[in-house]
Assembly symmetry: C2
Homo-oligomer: 278 residues x 2
Amino acid sequence: MNPTFLTPGNSHALDSDLAIESNLLALLELLGMPPHDREHAARQPLVIRRIKARHAVYQWGEPVRALAVIRHGSFKLCHLDESGYEQVSGLAMRGDVLGMESFDLPQHNSDAVALEDASVFLLPRDQLTALATRMPPLAQALQQASGRRLRQSQALVDVLAAVASEVRLARFLLWHGRQMAEDGWSPRRLHLRMGRRDLASLLGVAHETVSRSFTALSMAGLIAVEDRDIEILDPLRLQTFARNTRRPQEESRACGNLRPTSAASPAASSGRRSAYMA
Amino acid sequence: MNPTFLTPGNSHALDSDLAIESNLLALLELLGMPPHDREHAARQPLVIRRIKARHAVYQWGEPVRALAVIRHGSFKLCHLDESGYEQVSGLAMRGDVLGMESFDLPQHNSDAVALEDASVFLLPRDQLTALATRMPPLAQALQQASGRRLRQSQALVDVLAAVASEVRLARFLLWHGRQMAEDGWSPRRLHLRMGRRDLASLLGVAHETVSRSFTALSMAGLIAVEDRDIEILDPLRLQTFARNTRRPQEESRACGNLRPTSAASPAASSGRRSAYMA
DNA sequence: CGCTGTCTTGAACTGTCTCAACCATGGTGG
DNA sequence: CCACCATGGTTGAGACAGTTCAAGACAGCG
């Protein structure tokens, strides 16, 4: 049924079962291009592929055949390092382009796994240059998307650069909130699509530490946590807290370490749902 | 904000003092393109700009005016975070393109600072699209460069993902060695262009820890250190050591923790030159 | 020469990792 | 229906490693 399980049958991912025809018009809209050249675009056929949760659009070692523009859903970029540890190295959402990091290579150098049911526009490599030259807006859109992915990658480095795990988490939440806001969602109510384990990998800490950081931030009243639904209660304090790159130094007085402070009610945990909740 | 903090007169960076004429031919060679369309390329004028060590090609907040392709020298990409801490978020060398991360933005979102005297080809933004459409090889080269920068950024995430500081350093050295090898240099003899402080920022650790990690690796006989000149003595062992993503676990026996081991001669340090040296 | 900047080393503290439980949930099958 | 397991999340305890603070050595330079 599913020719795109994580392992078998995924090699011919692009000649997919669930392919639908669409046109370039929708893609340009998705990429935020102004509606020029709509006439050309509308006539240009395009393939949509659906990906089920936990399945990959492409995997490490697979030949590179196309770019994939995310239509809906979100993906994690990851790869197994030599010791068998799954390193998550990025997140991608609606409007992001998958596959750029290995587009000039014969084979993919990472996996792109759907965190939920998702769909993408496919831009086959062999058609792309022709398409781009015929349609300057597309080329421009892709360039823009490339820049955005580069910035996201750098933003991730910023997240990783914080030493304290709570700061890392705080930065991640704020960054993710901003991402959501760009799509018109509330920057304060987040739904994490990944489990603690993946999040830990992304943040570069142990998954237990992620748990503890969540509790710490929520005990401090900065966020509310309910499983994978996060609400940012106090964006300003969270923001100033996230500034602490190194140990609380000068301006830490404002909202420095919440370690010794706020050792308030252990909030008699009655199970995982109500574990913390300001 | 002070547009010229690091260096005076840098605000009008692009209408530079030291501008020289060249042509596209050299650029395409630099970017590794096969010598097609040489005739067109040779006729296309191009501007070279020289940048002195510690000066910036562009800085945060500056309007984006051009891409810069590194002709010689190397750069660090960085930005001051809100707490005034300089976060280094990347490294760029010969053949890399600077400015892509903000090319679709009105203003730069990071600094690109020369680590030594350097020079770059300038590709003004307003001429670029025209150039690219007229010269497909250039467009392709830029796409390729974009992919490479993306991969570098992900590689950095990999480096940061390691928990142990020595592993981070080991991974960085190996990665840097590979970079050098791509340019035809030896992957075993490295000259670091950045100080311990910048390196620490890049690796996400304290600069003292970088020092200690260098000593640890050299005491283990994996590398030899002489100030900023590093020699990789045992690439294989270094490589297996760099695999340790998390705490020394299963395969750590092979070349796991070098902490309790190799507590050999403190090597009576007679100054910084000969501090460690296998 | 003293200055400053870079690098190294030492000692104490403390945060994070690891190992180990525990709880809740969801699915499976007897 | 419930026992059973697998999965994902939370929490505790101890050890170790990285940070921080502090000091010192050396090189370059005005």
